[in-house]
């Protein structure tokens, strides 16, 4: 196993260029990165064909470390850049990596429209319920009553459920995992990458430094246990009462539907447009 890990590190990380990384010890981001790399490796995708685009925040630094075509965009805008890349070169496998604030606050509009539009883009959203890089301010997924550096008296807003938002917005494939359930996460990412259409994997993660510390979970182990105890598989959730599910979240595949994919639909538009311009030109020449 250690040998296997070293092999993957050498194959996929820019290990000679940009390490050590910026993440805190115990951060969940590394687990997400690992799961993504293993999924990519298992699918045998070519590094040249992969674009990893991020927004701003701790998750935004991920592209620096991997040996793909990598893009670190502006805050919340990863999906807009990804849209341009995918449309300009549909053969590329485009993955975006975003944080909860990144994807659903400043980038919320892009997020729902990317889901609605159904471009073949894979979005991985690391949800640690806080703005970590800027010092622990509350985000759209900070739970009601929690503490942050901008909700010192307790948070009075209500949290988004990112996955449910994605389902409602029309995403083809929606899954939720956690950094505690690392093997499941890898499977979910692998499935998402295989799917055409817009796919989302929301990853519940730990930020014990900025979120945990203010909410009596100031070390990674406590937060991992919290993730373990609050995640419920879909099968299990079906047997539970709404009351017992109240402070829990479900993990697994939440939506898996087939819809026409934008790039394929646009190819049809091109053919239609070219046909009609040909007919027009012919009738002109008569």
């Amino acid at each position: 196993m250690p040998k296997e890990v070293t092999k993957l590190i050498h194959k996929y990380l820019r290990h000679d260029k940009k390490f050590p990384h910026v993440w805190c010890p115990g951060c969940g981001n590394g687990i997400v990165l690992g799961a993504m790399i293993r999924a990519i490796d298992r699918l045998g995708l070519k590094k040249d064909d992969i674009v990893l685009a991020s927004g701003i925040g701790c998750s935004g630094r991920m592209p620096v470390y991997v040996d793909f075509n990598t893009l670190h965009t502006t805050h919340g805008r990863a999906l807009t850049f990804a849209t341009g890349i995918k449309l300009a070169k549909p053969s590329l496998m485009v993955i975006t990596i975003m944080g909860d604030g990144d994807a659903t606050a400043i980038g919320g509009n892009h997020f729902i429209h990317a889901a609605r539009r159904n471009l073949d883009i894979n979005a991985i959203i690391i949800n640690n319920q806080i703005y970590g890089m800027t010092g622990g301010q509350h985000s759209p997924t900070t739970p009601y009553g929690c503490y942050s550096t901008t909700s010192s008296y307790g948070h009075i807003e209500h949290a988004f459920s990112i996955s449910e938002l994605a389902v409602t917005a029309g995403a083809d494939f929606v899954a939720r995992g956690t950094v505690y359930h690392a093997e499941l996460l890898e499977e979910l990412i692998e499935k998402a990458l295989q799917r055409s259409g817009f796919s989302i994997v929301e990853v519940m993660s730990n930020c014990h430094i900025q979120f945990g510390r203010k909410n009596m979970m100031g070390d990674p182990i406590t937060m991992m246990k919290w993730l373990r105890d609050h995640a419920v598989t879909l099968e299990k959730a079906r047997k539970m009462t709404p009351d017992s599910l109240k402070d829990k979240f479900t993990i697994g595949i939440l939506a898996d539907v087939e819809k026409p994919v934008y790039t394929k639909e646009y190819e049809k538009i091109r053919k239609k447009a070219q046909r009609s311009s040909k007919v027009k030109n012919e009738s002109r020449s008569i």
């Binding site: 260029k17 793909f68 075509n69 965009t73 999906l79 849209t83 890349i85």
Partner: protein
């Protein structure tokens, strides 16, 4: 039969000519959001782009449009968006990204009255300084101003060429007047104008240093998916594209961004002059106002006033030398514009000779007429 006679004369509005120019320059990706008075560009390209094998997409807002065209350009496709004042404000964030990451792209801003929602259907020239300084931080950018339908075609081609050559976003400032005026033009055939494509790396990927300094200051640009796996970021970066905080690397990065444009001044800074050789008074202006100014100068000459016109085609980098030459030669200079005096500030900035500079501003949403420019010229 000359080639011009064989070609069809067409009656086009400014917005249509911009579309023709973009397609002729090789633009194959357009992302936009509906806004008056730029919407025709989107509408026409939604039909023409797929015909040309390219892609049109209507995004959820102008922030997204700007992001999408940068993405497409990174994938190797020439890209453009078009908007007006409020949308242009939203684009500033990602426009800065394009400046920092040196991603070629063209942004058309069909100016309308502002600030805020302003006057959606009236012409204005209030976005001149926003085009130069709208995005935060020190950054180079190229801004061109169109005044006729012919310009709309020619300068759009030129905008793409400059953008590709210097790896910098180019802003085309049009306005409601030019956008919706129909003029008869003959579109040149493809052998009559030059199309420049970005330089791509020819070395093997392992030798490629994406932001390496060159004599021109512009590095070859690899498209995503071509085997050159590199990093693109809006953070200040080193020659390999990775974020840096080293003072000497930061300094080198910002200076190179400026140097590459400074080195191209001769080619980038375009002006057009009329009867300035013996002029005692001159009009310096740009965009649609230059149309009226041309007429006003001709009429002034008929009244034996030795007037001339310097039309600024490139607004930024500000064409300092031709302006200085006019300021040196003339007793007085009139700077009419449809704003509170954004270009006259620039003219005053380079006025080292103490030449009398009179600004004339129109901010009521109405077009500046030849008569009013003439009456100002007479008073000089």
């Amino acid at each position: 039969m000359t080639s011009n006679q064989s070609k069809k004369r067409r009656l086009l509005q400014g917005n249509e000519a911009i579309v023709e120019g973009a397609l002729a320059a090789g633009c194959r990706f357009f992302a936009g959001y509906p806004i008056t008075p730029a919407s025709e560009i989107s509408e026409i390209l939604s039909v023409r782009m797929p015909q040309a094998g390219g892609t049109f997409i209507q995004m959820e807002d102008e922030i997204a449009s700007m992001g999408a065209i940068i993405g497409a350009s990174l994938a190797g496709v020439k890209s453009m968006t078009a908007t007006s004042g409020p949308g242009f404000s939203l684009m500033q964030e990602n426009l800065g990204f394009a400046c920092a990451a040196e991603v070629p792209c063209v942004v058309v801003n069909v100016m309308r009255g502002g600030p805020s929602t302003g006057l959606p259907t009236n012409p204005a020239q209030g976005d001149v300084l926003q085009a130069r300084w709208g995005t935060h931080g020190d950054h180079p950018i190229i801004v061109l101003a169109v005044s006729t339908v012919d310009d709309c075609f020619e300068l759009t081609v030129r905008a793409f060429n400059l953008s590709e050559k210097y790896r910098v976003p180019v802003i085309i400032l049009s306005d409601e007047m030019v956008a919706h005026t129909r003029e008869s033009i003959i579109l040149p055939s493809s052998d009559e104008f030059e199309v420049i494509d970005r330089i791509t790396p020819s070395m093997p990927p392992e030798w490629y240093i994406p932001y390496e300094d060159t004599s021109r200051g512009v590095s070859p640009m690899a498209a995503f998916g071509e085997g050159y796996r590199y990093h693109v970021t809006g953070l200040v970066h080193d020659v390999r594209g990775f974020p840096t905080q080293r003072p000497e690397e930061i300094e080198r990065f910002i200076s190179r961004l400026f140097r590459k444009i400074t080195k191209g001044f001769n080619e980038i800074q375009m002006t057009s002059s009329m009867m300035t050789e013996d002029a005692e008074v001159a009009v310096i202006t740009f965009g649609s106002v230059a149309r009226s100014a041309r007429r006003a100068v001709i009429e002034a000459r008929e009244q034996n006033i030795k007037a001339g016109l310097l039309q600024l085609i490139t607004l930024f980098p500000f064409p300092r030398h031709p302006v200085e030459e006019v300021l040196r030669k003339c007793r007085a200079v009139l700077v009419p514009e449809m704003n509170m005096g954004q270009i006259s500030r620039e003219v005053k900035r380079v006025n080292t000779e103490g030449t009398h500079i009179k600004k004339h501003n129109r901010i009521d949403g109405q077009f500046m007429t030849p008569d009013e420019i003439l009456s100002q010229l007479i008073k000089l």
